[in-house]
Symmetry: C2
Subunit: 368 residues, 2 copies
């Protein structure tokens, strides 16, 4: 499968906060071919720490994409049939404009002078990309976690541009607990003296704080069961407790490794801005019912949640489904059994693949 | 109710690690009166961040104890009937010897030269206190969370000294997820440059790291539901999002407040040592069945868990109960409905009080 990686620059974008960014870059990849009718395009939206590299082998890093088991020839998002587009979100650090980008007004990275952003800002930029690519309507918008928030926002903000939406393991608004976990990550970063008010580019990175933030994240992405299966109480490279504060347990080693690995690939300020965008997201804008907020949507919906996902519990997806049904929307819902917690949408793909394949085929047939 | 607060010094204690501490102090409080038969004593064991001040008003701080709603005249642990003892754990920072104590060999605080400790070390020291107080058998040992671990350890290590045990919201061994949350707290502390290898006494405290650790803790002590009820998505002192990184949501404000408040009352090195002791705790010592590990126990048991406690989920208490039943132990079990998560044992006390009152009365009757 050919991976086409590009960056497109737009003159400016107006943001929900009232600020604007000019210019603004969007990094994106595409897989498969846009058909002559231009009706086979699917926009895949990544989760918090993802990037545009969703599938295939990156020519740059040699690594498979974050949803490579779902996107490709014969896979759920079958690139023999569909034209799949994946872009890095606004505020990110993998090619799309974010806090690490150079502010043309100063010649220095934005850092904390980067304007606050929202999920709807991200979606507005994605819409600019889709316009630029000359795609009149997306056959589907999809994504897990924060990607699912964007899919929901797309369906409401640009209803005439979206034939279907597949929000996975997501919610229409963060609960207090979800905000709390994000806030702990932000506080861990801002507590690191190397964070330095966000001004650390070209200097020592706030790696200790960012690593702690990531460790918290990883616990929430797994389930109690999956951690038991993967680590249990197994010791790491020793037969007895060390009685020091070096690694004793496998799970400690895993968290430390994941934390330090993250520092090499993610920008701490992007962590701050993107988690805030997630916390701000509320499809109801804090008023009225969810059903009222979903009223503009015209898309068909496939909503998926996972039984062991306690970070984005099924009750949140079910709330979305009830609200869509209250609007007489065409909505299918499945809670898939899985032990992998929130990570299920990334790793446990057999049933997910079956569901999505059938839903997309049916959607394409109706749309043609 | 009169609060008697004391500190007793012992020459030394031998630890599981092979090290010894000499001397060792134990801070404790007592409530009520030991009867002539010396058979009405109840040892109450605190959770991770607790202290000896379990009940009544502290003459020192003017504050009520951490289980004041459970201990006192007419309460679950009725001080008109029982003699209640509460001590600060080994490794703590509220009067009992811990890392902040002066190492007599150097004249300086132990810091990280403090030896590694275990739950069984804590219980060994508590046993020395009970011997010193001249109490032949405890009518009951009880506590929630880490206090419950100690209660279980008491029942197995000193079976002839324990008539009954009431382990609440606890486990016989930490799961990978429980270890993981503790490890995140430790890493947050050790990531703070002010931690300085544990050598910060009389200098700048590692307050930022300790605050982050405590924030993670607080999320795990509450439930998704209780956080929704308490905070929801309410904003703090503003009508719109700030688009800065100041507090937006009530829940952020709460976590920041709790984090900073904790720094003033708890020692970061105690955090490290005590969480490790919890992670090390395994009643089976990593081998054999739980039923075999519980074989020495002669006590009657009342095991309590709470429906919304996801940090110490009911399945862990139920595992303990099954193992006790497999040994033909006298065991009663209740999973109490409560929305408060792990904090339930501290705050939701109506049903807990009924259960414990009846169990203790019955135990005293049989013991007399």
């Amino acid at each position: 499968m050919i991976v086409e990686a590009s960056v497109v620059r737009f003159d400016s974008i107006a943001l929900d906060s009232g600020a604007a960014l000019a210019p603004v870059d969007v990094a994106y990849e595409t897989y498969g071919q846009l058909n002559a009718a231009r009706n086979n395009a699917i926009l895949v939206l990544h989760a918090f720490s993802g990037d545009a590299h969703a599938a295939g082998i990156s020519p740059e890093t040699g690594k498979p994409g974050w949803w490579d088991n779902m996107i490709g020839p014969g896979k759920a998002f079958d690139t023999n049939k569909y034209f799949v587009i994946s872009s890095n979100v606004l505020g990110g650090c993998r090619g799309t404009t974010g806090p690490a980008s150079i502010n043309p007004a100063t010649g220095c990275p934005y850092g904390m002078s980067f304007p606050g952003i929202t999920i709807s800002d991200m979606v507005r930029l994605e819409k600019m990309l889709i316009d630029k690519l000359g795609i009149p309507r997306l056959l589907s918008v999809t994504g897990g976690s924060m990607g699912g928030m964007q899919a929901l926002e797309w369906a409401v903000a640009y209803p005439d541009r979206v034939v279907s939406a597949i929000p996975i393991a997501t919610t229409t608004r963060h609960s207090a607990q979800q905000i709390a976990f994000n806030e702990v990550g932000r506080q861990a970063i801002m507590a690191d003296p190397d964070w330095n008010g966000g001004d650390y580019y070209g200097k020592q990175l706030p790696g200790r704080g960012l690593a702690v933030a990531r460790m918290v994240g990883h616990i929430t992405y797994m389930s109690d069961d999956s951690m038991r299966e993967k680590f249990g109480r197994r010791l790491r490279g020793k037969e007895n407790f060390g009685f020091d504060f070096d690694v004793d347990f496998e799970v400690e080693s895993y968290l430390r490794y994941r934390g330090s690995q993250f520092v090499g690939r993610f920008d701490a300020n992007s962590y701050l801005y993107i988690t805030k965008a997630m916390d701000y997201f509320d499809l109801t804008n804090g008023q009225g019912s969810l059903a009222a907020a979903l009223a503009p949507a015209q898309a068909r919906f496939l909503v998926i949640s996972f039984s062991s996902d306690w970070l984005y519990p099924s009750y949140q997806s079910q709330e979305t489904v009830r609200a869509l049904r209250a609007r007489n929307c065409d909505v299918a819902y499945a809670e898939l059994p899985s032990n992998y917690g929130h990570d299920s949408f990334l790793v446990d793909v057999a049933e997910q693949t079956e569901l999505i394949r059938g839903f997309l085929a049916n959607t394409l047939e109706r749309a043609s």
